[in-house]
């Protein structure tokens, strides 16, 4: 069976820490704000940022909602304690319920889940402005390729240090960085409704799907080749289906080009301020 290649966690961690240090320097801002969900991705992002720019320049937010699991806040606190991060708790339950009632979205768990994800984005960017800080994202390559995220919600961030890192490798990175074992070992979840898990929604877990995605996305293998290589057809179809269906999330918007100077088409410029 084809496997996902391994990774040197020490080199990857050092590399990503340099990235976070340089992005902050180039931006001219004061630090990072990160939402700690209690999950492994945000724990790794926060750990890398603390090592890169110093824990005093990383502000962690816990953003519980009415449907968050109780252990999520507990695990977020454990992560903050592990890396010595200041953790602010911002209760989003009341505004989420109010907005959901106004929109008539409360009865639909997907709509309410997306609303929660986007409210967290609002809180993170609002708090970032007060620092001023960059919003540190926690999206990983596996979920980006599958489109398993809320557009302009958890997918929204100033920088994404883990956006090109497979979830399988994030588990290894987490262990190397000393993320609390309870956080590393629990089932990945968006925590948008009780009992929700990534594997339950996607139909496969990340260690299972990552090799399929790798050999398709990076290795250039099509459906038939993947199945011939031994991957189950249901797994291949599920992974490639999500990969094709949700590709619009890789580029969150598209600008209609009507001039010869359209941004990012005719004029591609460095993202950080020039001086």
């Amino acid at each position: 069976m084809l496997e996902l290649p391994g990774i040197s966690t020490a080199l990857l961690a050092e590399t990503l820490e340099k990235f976070l240090a340089e992005e902050l320097r180039a931006s001219g801002l004061a630090g990072y704000v990160v939402g700690l969900s209690g999950g492994v991705d945000s724990a790794v992002s926060a750990a890398l940022a603390a090592a890169a720019v110093g824990r005093e320049r990383v502000l962690a937010l816990a953003l519980p909602g009415p449907t968050s699991a109780p252990e999520s806040l507990r695990d977020a606190q454990a992560v903050a304690e592990t890396y010595g991060l200041r953790l602010e708790k911002i209760e989003l339950g009341s505004p989420a319920e109010h907005l959901a009632e106004t929109l008539g979205a409360r009865a639909d768990r997907v709509r309410f889940g997306n609303l929660m994800a986007r409210l967290r984005m609002v809180a993170l960017f609002d708090r970032a402005r007060t620092v001023p800080a960059l919003v540190l994202g926690s999206s990983n390559k596996s979920e980006i390729l599958l489109g398993y995220s809320t557009l302009f919600g958890d997918a929204a961030a100033s920088v994404q240090p883990l956006g090109d890192v497979w979830k399988t490798h994030i588990f290894a990175l987490a262990r190397a960085l000393g993320v609390p074992a309870a956080v590393v070992s629990k089932a990945p979840t968006a925590d948008l409704w009780p009992g929700q898990t990534d594997a339950g929604e996607l139909g496969f877990d990340y260690p299972t799907v990552d090799p399929v995605l790798y050999w398709h996305h990076e290795g250039g293998m099509g459906r038939e080749e993947l199945i011939a290589a031994g991957f189950p057809a249901t797994l291949v179809d599920g992974a490639l289906g999500a990969y094709r269906r949700n590709r619009f999330k890789w580029r969150p918007t598209v600008v209609a080009r009507v001039s010869a100077s359209c941004m990012n088409v005719d004029r591609i410029l460095p993202r950080n301020p020039e001086r």
């Binding site: 080199l11 990235f19 340089e22 001086r275």
Partner: protein
């Protein structure tokens, strides 16, 4: 360093930022000061060191002429040691070159314009730059140098042409992006070390490789600047991949010439085969 050194070459592995030219200039002057302290005679900076690599259309704003005031501090610094600096060069006839400029004695001694502009994968240099028209040695008080900018060195013929032109050594400057593939060093750096070593032993010339490190626009550059003598032996340990550093190496024209006397591979080059190949290719 264990070998007699006539001269000292310093490889300035820096992390530049696209469009932040003043910041980049400060990185240069800092490295020049450090190089001066260790007695360097030549400081080699990476590709597009003054502007940053991923400027994209930013080259329209930041390309410089050779008389640009921005170069004044570097020209001044070159009064007592030579510098090879990378920059987007605004050409008099229009167009912008990806250039490496040799400064010495407060003057521009020579310019190499990148010949091969990669425009595949993550690269899009053909969109912003015009290719260099020729490949010639650059000369300063240390000797005759063949300068190759990044992909120039991936075309092995470049180094062979410069060897035939009688250079004393090759200076390979790069803004080499890399991926991580599970190895203990970046994959791109590993490839570069094969190229540097192979170029040295086949041309029987020392090769001095200055690569940039750090991040631009989410793209990682692999560092690992390195120098080898004409037999492929390390002149200094390779730099680490992620850290700004100055690699200080000896350079001996005499030792290189002695190596070519013992290993006369370059003198045996079958130019008749080149001629036949060119004729077959219709060139």
């Amino acid at each position: 360093m264990g070998r007699p050194a006539e001269k000292v070459i310093a490889l300035a592995q820096i992390a530049t930022c696209p469009g932040q030219l003043q910041y980049n200039l400060e990185r240069h002057l800092d490295m020049v000061a450090r190089a001066r302290q260790v007695g360097a005679h030549l400081v080699v900076f990476p590709e597009l060191s003054l502007s940053g690599y991923l400027l994209a259309h930013g080259v329209l704003e930041h390309a410089v002429r050779l008389d640009d005031p921005l170069l004044a501090p570097l020209l001044e610094a070159s009064r007592d040691l030579a510098l090879l600096v990378g920059l987007p060069l605004r050409e008099g006839q229009g167009g912008i070159s990806n250039a490496a400029v040799l400064l010495e004695g407060g003057e521009v001694r020579g310019v190499h314009r990148k010949l091969y502009l990669p425009t595949s994968g993550m690269f899009d240099e053909g969109r912003y730059f015009v290719p260099g028209p020729r490949l010639e040695p650059l000369v300063c008080s240390l000797g005759r140098f063949g300068v190759l900018i990044c992909e120039d060195a991936w075309h092995l013929s470049s180094a062979v042409i410069l060897a035939q032109a009688g250079v004393d050594a090759l200076l390979v400057v790069a803004g080499g992006p890399t991926e991580l593939d599970g190895g203990e060093e970046p994959a791109g750096s590993r490839r570069w070390h094969w190229i540097v070593g192979a170029t040295a032993v086949t041309t029987v010339r020392p090769v001095f490789f200055a690569n940039r490190c750090g991040w631009e626009e989410g793209v990682l550059f692999g560092g690992c600047s390195w120098a080898v003598d004409a037999r492929g032996r390390s002149l200094a340990p390779p730099a680490p991949p992620m850290t700004e550093t100055l690699v200080v190496t000896p350079f001996s024209r005499v030792a290189a010439a002695r190596a070519r006397t013992l290993i006369p591979i370059p003198y045996a080059e079958r130019l008749d085969l080149w001629r036949a190949a060119l004729e077959n290719a219709g060139a």
